[in-house]
């Protein structure tokens, strides 16, 4: 008596023509392929239909599958030839869907703009809906991560990228597709024939995961000092300029500079009392509040950001002569009414009008500070950035989670604010979710008779159904790692989407 065999069927294919089938179920947005063997057909009645595997009164079905290709295969010693039809699951149509999305934008303070803040599940749901799915579930996704997307393109590519960033998996669940966390969901059933059961301490894993934000942004008031161009083009403080008049700048007047040699007068008009350069923090020194190291040179502040609070122009304030009829200076911390032009790369600040203060009835350098934003270029050349790690067991090296859309923002002027609390909270979620990828290393591979519902989950990596072909109907499945070497690997499947979606 022949061994009982499972039956696979597809819309339009006669059961008499069935010879065998294998169907590997994998995670991701790329459709799985069912290799369907049948007696050669002159034509196929339908190319889109329902794929089913049945055994012992138990049937599993997947709707809206599509024939991808067909070819003839010689099978000597068994039968002369057979037709092979490759049938893709419903995910074949996902790449046709497009989506436009603009979410999780952050304001100048580094915090999420409330109107654009959405959880990853909202993004995943939007992708799945765009791809025509209706019975999916994203309820198992983590919260507290807010990747920035301003995107218009293929929905499957976005979903894959979302899962990659937030450490989630797209898993087939019956005839639906869910998005789940690593380590969640059903494990391999205990009943069944164990093919492989071992736990490995993989070396190709990191021993640490790092959350790396974009360059930190600092905002404070920086002291300005009066400078000018020397005859060789270099920038010097005005007291050191070679064309400083013998009577000193304090005894000249900026509307004529008659005490300056004629050859240098144009240079004086251009720069004296108009050109300034950042020197240090207004209170003194180069220490940046909130930075990870103390700079040793003001050039480490460059380039400047000619903005404050993200959108407003940087401005100057201090003690200066407000160009009144009297030679009286403003009170301290008076905002200069005209915004200066800032050269971010050099830290030079130019005012349209000469800016002075009066000291003993004579013009003198004003006490000015520039309120602006800037980063810190550390001694090693990299920008100071928020960096947080979590340790893993075993492995080597660091897996870096790059999040340039997120950065530490610390303002100490005009008011103090920092996003360190929300930044740490979000980083912790990212780290925990990615650490979960390596938490469970117990690889196991098992076989089950028939076609019980064993689909990939946060623990189960892959399952494969086999029918016909002269063998018992089995469902083979593995946890943590995929086992089917004849199926494109997870990495290959992802790369295919990256490449296709980039066109």
């Amino acid at each position: 008596m022949a061994e009982p065999q499972g039956i696979a069927s597809f819309t339009g294919i006669s059961a008499d023509d069935f010879r065998g089938a294998t169907f590997t179920r994998s995670c991701g947005v790329v459709p799985d392929a069912c290799i369907f063997y049948l007696t050669p057909q002159a034509s196929m009645a339908a190319s889109i239909g329902t794929l089913s595997f049945s055994y012992d009164g138990n049937t599993r079905s997947w709707t809206n599958c599509a024939i991808d290709t067909a070819y003839m295969q010689e099978v000597p010693l068994v039968e002369n030839s057979r037709q092979v039809v490759v049938i893709l699951d419903r995910r074949w149509r996902w790449k046709q869907a497009v989506i436009e999305i603009d979410v999780n934008e952050r304001g100048a303070d580094g915090e999420l703009i409330a109107a654009k803040k959405v959880e990853p599940s909202v993004i995943a749901n939007a992708c799945l809906v765009a791809m025509g799915e209706t019975g999916h579930s994203v309820a198992g996704m983590a919260t507290g991560m807010y990747p920035r997307f301003k995107y218009s393109g293929r929905a499957d590519k976005l979903l894959q990228e979302l899962c990659h960033i937030t450490a989630h998996k797209v898993v087939p669940a019956g005839d639906e597709y869910n998005v789940v966390q690593y380590g969640s969901g059903a494990d391999l059933p205990a009943s069944g024939k164990v093919v492989l059961d071992y736990s490995i301490d993989e070396s190709a894993t990191p021993n640490q995961i790092a959350f790396v934000a974009g360059p930190s942004t600092f905002q404070s008031k920086l002291k300005l000092e009066a400078v000018g161009h020397e005859t060789d083009g270099s920038i010097e403080v005005i007291s050191s300029l070679s064309y400083k008049p013998a009577v000193g700048w304090e005894k000249t007047w900026h509307s004529n500079f008659y005490d300056v040699a004629v050859a240098d007068r144009a240079r004086a008009f251009n720069d004296i009392w108009r050109l300034y350069k950042i020197k240090e923090q207004f209170a003194g020194g180069l220490t940046i509040p909130g930075a990870s190291e103390v700079p040793t040179n003001i050039s480490q502040y460059l380039p400047l950001n000619a903005k404050v609070n993200g959108d407003e122009p940087a401005y100057a304030e201090g003690v200066f002569w407000p160009e009144s009829l009297l030679g009286t200076n403003t009170p301290a911390a008076t905002r200069y009414p005209l915004d200066p032009e800032i050269e971010p790369a050099t830290g030079l600040v130019r005012f349209a009008n000469p800016v002075i203060q009066f000291t003993s009835n004579k013009p003198a350098e004003p006490t000015l500070g520039l309120v602006c934003q800037y980063h810190l270029k550390k001694a090693n050349g990299a920008y100071d950035a928020f960096y947080k790690t979590t340790s893993l067991t075993g492995g080597q090296g660091t897996e870096n989670l790059y999040h340039p859309e997120v950065s530490f923002v610390n303002k100490t002027f005009p008011t103090s604010s920092s996003n360190t609390t929300s930044l740490n909270a979000e980083a912790d979620v990212y780290l925990a979710r990615h650490a979960a990828k390596y938490a469970d290393k117990a690889v196991k591979q098992m076989q089950y008779e028939g076609y019980p519902v064993i689909d990939p989950t946060g623990l189960v990596a892959q399952s494969k159904l086999t029918a016909g072909l002269g063998q018992l109907p089995i469902t083979e499945a593995s946890r943590i790692k995929e086992f089917d070497i004849y199926n494109p690997s997870e990495g290959d499947r992802e790369r295919r989407v990256w490449v296709e979606g980039s066109r």
Binding site: W253, E323, L325, L326, P337, N353
Partner: protein, 330 residues
């Protein structure tokens, strides 16, 4: 570039570059006497040359900006619009008062001309007031002192000869100390101590009153008193004709002065010193309004009507350069 506001009005004032050609540092907001402008041939720029005022009446002056300017240093000054000027905290002007330069000083002084106080009078030690330049609309003229002696401030001067014009000095009058007791329109010196054979500025004081030196020997002047020239002296004498006192006396530039308005002398009251027959000339002693002999004797008064005896009251009128009797006591 976003403008967060307006800068204060410094740039709305027409500032001029100037050089301090004097030996004294010019303080902020000090008055400057302008000598001339100078041009740099090498850089095609011009500046005014100014210094501490050497006279109290300065035809062209300016006010220094907010920066002090040392000798031979450069600064900016204004000659129009509104600015702040130093004031004499010992004689504080009120809003609406006229102030102007003072000899050997940088402050705007009361009783001098050129600026009107518009407000913000600061009576602290810095002593500043906001002012506006006002044009001198008085009939100010140039004169050459040909009297042979120095002509002090406020002096009443009579014209000696015709108007003359010399290159560099323009039209001017030659003046001398009064040699008569009656004169149609005299000039009042606006400057301190103009030496003999030097030039100065004077005013008729016909459109508006001004300060003129008076003879203190005649007693304390009061508003409404009449003063006039007296031969042999620069000061105005009491109970004479030509000037009407407008306010109480004051010391101006170290000189005892009265504020007077000049009126043209064309009619006088007097008495015949001796008989004057019809059609001949005689001498009339001039009397004031209280019928007191002013001690002015007008000779060559013509009797056009009838023979007159001595000591008769007469009214005379100046017509075409001749004094005629137009009414007389019978």
């Amino acid at each position: 570039m976003n403008n967060q506001g307006h800068l204060a009005p410094f740039n709305r004032v027409p500032w001029m570059d100037f050089k301090n050609t004097g030996a004294t540092t010019i303080p902020p907001h000090g008055i400057i006497e302008i000598e001339e402008s100078e041009r740099s041939d090498t850089s095609s720029i011009e500046w005014l040359k100014g210094k501490r005022p050497t006279k109290s009446y300065v035809r062209v002056f300016a006010v220094n900006g907010p920066k002090e300017v040392e000798a031979n240093g450069y600064g900016v000054c204004c000659q129009a619009g509104e600015c702040y000027v130093k004031i004499d905290t010992g004689d504080i002007p009120g809003v609406g008062k006229i102030i102007g330069p003072k000899k050997d000083d940088f402050y705007g002084q009361m009783h001098h001309y050129g600026l009107v106080v518009t407000g913000d009078v600061n009576t602290s030690s810095s002593g500043l007031a906001r002012v506006r330049f006002v044009p001198d609309t008085r009939n100010v003229v140039r004169f050459l002192n040909t009297s042979g002696v120095t002509c002090p401030f406020g002096s009443a001067m009579i014209i000696d000869g015709d108007l003359v014009t010399y290159l560099g000095e323009g039209i001017h009058y030659r003046i001398k100390q009064p040699t008569t007791d009656i004169q149609q329109l005299v000039l009042i010196n606006l400057q301190e101590d103009v030496p003999d054979n030097e030039y100065g500025w004077a005013c008729w004081l016909t459109e508006a009153p001004g300060w003129a030196a008076y003879d203190v020997a005649g007693g304390t002047p009061a508003k409404g008193n009449r003063y006039g020239i007296k031969q042999g002296q620069w000061t105005l004498a009491k109970n004479r004709y030509g000037f009407l006192v407008q306010s109480a006396a004051k010391t101006v530039n170290g000189v005892e002065c009265i504020n007077v308005l000049q009126t043209e002398v064309t009619r006088l009251r007097g008495k015949t010193d001796s008989a004057i027959t019809k059609g001949s000339f005689g001498t009339v002693s001039i009397y004031d309004g209280a019928e007191i002999d002013t001690s002015i004797n007008l000779t060559s008064v013509y009797n056009v009507f009838a023979d007159l005896d001595s000591d008769k009251v007469v009214f005379i009128e100046e017509l075409g350069g001749r004094w005629d009797i137009y009414a007389a006591e019978c």
